[in-house]
Symmetry: C2
Subunit: 114 residues, 2 copies
DNA sequence: AATATATATGAACACATGAACATATGAATG
DNA sequence: CATTCATATGTTCATGTGTTCATATATATT
């Protein structure tokens, strides 16, 4: 059976996932990255940014939260390199920085909904 | 282009992920599930169980941690339905309860390693 | 029944985390 | 350069989390 590009990637990773528990360095990185996704506000911000870039104020309004709370979470997401920002005059526009973000959330949605 | 089964799943989910931020119920469930993966010990336990079931004592020894710490984390993983347990005499054997667990971690490994 | 072994659980503690609030920074505009 | 608007940041506080320690439960063995 032919595999699409995405699944060929998976096969490479499955090789890595065999048998031995990897060193703490990788598992810690993994856990830390999962932690970034492990917050309702951050998930909602990422979802908001799936289809378009947005400025801080608009994200805050859309999610009915304070500008400060959103800004703090944007910082966390940016440090994890999940989103990137660009200044345009007074505004800072944020957008998804990584193609995998959607896939990661997708995979979890699939898990949840079964 | 033909898509494999896994990617057809993804397409269904992408439909869901369009435009609107979903209600808090789904995003909260998502965040809570990510939280379960967001701990180094739990990631290492899951990894340990990828290829075979194991009893509590052996997991603890393999990860060089106390039986109590492992048992507590096993409870968390079991409550999230990521693993299941079976008793055999004095031992409790744990194993992965969900096909998605590996895929979810795979996807994150892919993200980390790029 | 008494004991040994494997696992589970409850309480306590240290630490991490997220939001609110106040304030600072940066950019545009008068 | 003072003001305004948008965003960022530092601090504080309440809450959540993971481990340890002590103890309880469960099963097997004698």
């Amino acid at each position: 059976m032919d595999m699409c590009e995405s699944c060929q990637y998976n096969m490479q990773v499955i090789e890595k996932i065999k048998n031995e528990v990897p060193d703490n360095e990788l598992t810690t990185k993994l856990a830390d990255m999962f932690k970034v996704f492990g917050d309702n506000t951050r998930i909602r911000i990422l979802w908001t940014l799936f289809d378009k870039e947005m400025c801080v104020y608009d994200i805050a309004e859309k999610l009915s939260m304070s500008q400060s709370a959103i800004s703090h979470q944007l910082k966390t997401l940016r440090q994890a390199r999940l989103i990137k920002s660009r200044r345009d005059g007074k505004n800072a526009f944020y957008s998804i920085d990584d193609d995998h973000v959607k896939k990661i959330i997708e995979q979890m949605v699939i898990h949840i909904e079964e």
